[in-house]
């Protein structure tokens, strides 16, 4: 099946979202709350595009809107551009320190709103990506709390949560670095709770908490929960994988040489 984005035709697969096809073909659509690993949030609305389909035109979130054959998408119409600018200017007021938002403002030539007061202390845009990360990767330790102007992200009773395993997934997916996670002297502090850190078995750098490792082991189960790679930091994990691949390729060379 095919879809048209900004006048050009691209191949698409059933079940894909507009954003998937656009990203694959280097068509720019800005996002804040989108993560490939945790799709489907559609809360930041930055990815709004115009869709012409079956004689109707509507504005949809590209990150969740499924493609249909022959659909026409416009990512930079006058209306979309204007709305995107307003959104970015408003996000800039909510989270004035965010480099990512400032970068997007520069990219789309957005002037800051000077007639409204920025919320200097705040960094969170309440997109909810951290909550989704905690649901999927962690242990449901955080959620949105309160409502309206008081809405915030936090733990139960806003106390250090028994559920939190200190995995840091929430902080790492946050588009505006709003979740404070500090590491010092082999300890990590996040959501007012302090954890010991474990060292990577290869390079010796601190990389995760015992609680997070135990959680991963439990999730993976008996068959793969004991693999050695779990005790490595991300860097060493990739390095080992690359080495294995390299060794594998060498075996193929050997194989080729013997057969020939």
């Amino acid at each position: 099946m095919q879809i048209i984005i900004n006048g050009k035709t691209y191949a698409a697969n059933p079940g894909e979202k507009i954003l998937d096809v656009a990203r694959r073909n280097r068509v720019e659509i800005p996002t804040l709350c989108h993560s490939e690993a945790l799709p489907g949030l559609a809360s930041c609305r930055l990815c709004m595009v115009e869709v012409h389909e079956g004689g109707r035109t509507q504005e949809v979130a590209a990150c969740t809107y499924p493609v249909t054959d022959g659909m026409e998408v416009v990512t930079d119409s006058e209306m979309i551009t204007a709305k995107r600018k307003i959104l970015l200017a408003l996000y800039n007021l909510i989270a004035p320190d965010s480099e990512r938002i400032k970068g997007l403002m520069a990219r789309y030539h957005v002037e800051p709103f000077d007639r409204l007061q920025a919320d200097a202390e705040n960094k969170c845009i309440l997109c909810g990506l951290c909550v989704k990360a905690c649901e999927e990767l962690g242990t449901n330790a955080i959620s949105t709390l309160f409502r309206g102007t008081k809405k915030k992200i936090g733990t139960a009773f806003e106390q250090p949560a028994a559920e939190c395993i200190g995995c840091g997934s929430c902080a790492s997916v946050c588009p505006t670095q709003a979740i404070e996670m500090t590491e010092a002297d082999g300890k990590r502090t996040i959501w007012d709770k302090t954890f010991e850190l474990l060292r990577c078995q290869d390079c010796g750098e601190y990389y995760t908490t015992p609680e997070a490792l135990a959680h991963v082991r439990q999730k993976l189960g008996d068959t793969v929960g004991n693999i050695e790679e779990l005790e490595l930091c991300d860097y060493c994990k990739s390095r080992r994988a690359a080495e294995k691949l390299k060794n594998g390729l060498r075996l193929n060379e050997l194989f080729d040489a013997t057969v020939k």
């Binding site: 242990t139 449901n140 330790a141 955080i142 959620s143 949105t144 709390l145 309160f146 409502r147 936090g154 733990t155 139960a156 009773f157 949560a161 559920e163």
Partner: protein, 162 residues
């Protein structure tokens, strides 16, 4: 039995009137709110465990709805309507009267635990404006003086809590 254990036992009994399914969370919290006039932390923990819902989701729901309170509410909850019709008919004067008599602001509860004061946007009884609702009883066409008389009846224990 300690107070905390008592709350856990009672709230489990309330929760067990429903099947342990996530969709009953709101209904159970409403029943608990009705029983205690607030949501004790122990009760939220009990419900979370009973329904296998993360505790933070229960807390999130408890803080989301205005009908729930995390601190004990009074025996009588005075809701002064401040919808358009009541506002024009002088609901602000009613509110000032209650504040003066009881010495509390909207959202607060008197020290004796008898009254809580709230404002509501509209209760759909504009024909009776200005209106106040005390627990489930509607009082219409109020003046500061008539409201004072009604409050005195409650203070004197002449009205039963519903």
């Amino acid at each position: 039995m300690s107070e905390s254990l008592k709350i856990r036992t009672e709230s489990l009994e309330i929760a067990q009137k429903y099947q342990p399914k996530r969709r009953y969370l709101l209904a159970i919290l409403q029943d608990i709110q009705k029983h205690y006039n607030y949501l004790p932390a122990e009760a939220m923990e009990t419900v979370a465990r009973y329904l296998s819902v993360p505790l933070v989701k229960v807390y999130g729901m408890a803080t989301f709805y205005k009908a729930f309170s995390l601190t004990p509410k009074g025996k009588y909850i005075i809701k002064v309507c401040d919808g358009t019709a009541c506002h024009i008919k002088g609901s602000v004067n009613l509110l000032d009267e209650v504040k003066m008599i009881l010495g509390i602001e909207p959202g607060q509860t008197t020290d004796d635990g008898l009254f809580s004061l709230e404002t509501v946007a509209c209760i759909g009884a504009c024909g009776l404006a200005p209106v106040a609702v005390i627990n489930d009883e509607y009082h219409g066409n109020l003046t500061p003086a008539s409201l004072r008389q009604i409050l005195e009846q409650y203070q004197g224990g002449m009205k039963d809590a519903k």
